[in-house]
């Protein structure tokens, strides 16, 4: 079950720098570990994280197998207009988690 904790300010003044923080539940299995049966445990990682603001991509990250489980990310962007901020994580085995937050900009 994908679970995410997302923190986006609900209100901001136009031109403000806002901080976005997000934590997602994911095993980030590196694909290098050996299981108790002696076999390699299949890789299962998040590959990309993107943030779009009213449809425009404002932040993107590529994840690697060296990143720990349940990765946390924080970044900033400029508040331009009221609307939707969409955070999306995609990865191995068709993994996809999408979180949408509304922001009011005055």
């Amino acid at each position: 079950m994908a679970r995410a904790l997302v923190n986006v300010p609900a209100n901001a003044r136009r031109g403000d720098i806002i901080e976005i923080k997000a934590l997602i539940s994911h095993p980030m299995e590196s694909g290098f570990r050996v299981g108790t049966n002696g076999k390699i445990i299949q890789r299962d990682i998040i590959q990309t994280f993107t943030c779009t603001y009213n449809g425009e991509e404002v932040f993107k990250a590529k994840y690697s197998p060296a990143i720990a489980a349940n990765p946390f990310i924080s970044f900033s962007t400029r508040a331009t207009d009221s609307g939707e901020i969409v955070l999306a994580w995609r990865g191995d085995n068709g993994f996809e988690a999408v979180e949408t937050k509304q922001i009011t900009v005055e």
């Binding site: 079950m1 679970r3 923190n7 923080k21 934590l23 489980a69 946390f72 924080s74």
Partner: protein, 263 residues
Amino acid sequence: MMRPRRLRMIMACMAVLLAGPFASGDEIPLAARKSGSEFMSRQTQDMQNDDTSNPAMLWVLEGETLWSKPAGTANKSCSSCHRDAATSMKGVAASYPAFDETSSKVINLEQRINLCRTEQQKASPLAYESRDLLALTAYLARQSKGMPIEAKDDSRTRPFREAGEKLYSERVGQLNLSCAQCHTDNWGQKLGSALLPQAHPTAYPLYRLEWQTVGSLQRRLRNCMIGMRAEPYAYGDQEFVNLELYLMWRARGMTMEAPGVRP
């Protein structure tokens, strides 16, 4: 995978050191007690203190969902009887393990949750360290955040606490170490790269970076026992519950900070 092995090796060295006349046996004065979080780096403290970066909050969130989800043949949710956890469960985790009338034993919070599962919801008990049990425990513990630990001391609980104290101070395992030697006599000293904390159970269940997941106090205690090369008790054993009770009593009055983060 590598750290426990390294810890065991270091502990072997400790055993040699501690064989000398170091053990004082005196408990830490109440005012000198420190939570394990005070021994952590600033970064790890920040991770614990900010709800949006504390990974254990993912479990709290899941626990909140489970709280209002009907389960078992009674098809009842926890909230159908206990309503708002913020009120009904406030301070509860800070006072467990507690005496259970039915079994005439001291039980821990996980066992109390499972009693409601089996007796009230008519559902199967949740396995120790399962995601659901950790999530519910983390959710309940969260309702005691910032409150003082209240370990009851009465004629019914005392024998269990005393049994726990005995386990805490007795030397066990191939290395012939006691919990007290590390956590009472030598806290603040280095064991390899780790600082020896005072072993206060203020933050459980917690997210341990080494585990990359949330674990219970008993999982932590198993780690220490394996490091001592002692046979760890099984999850839920009365010995473990007694130890938990003694640790809570030793930490009485200290502030609950669950769900915590540890290295």
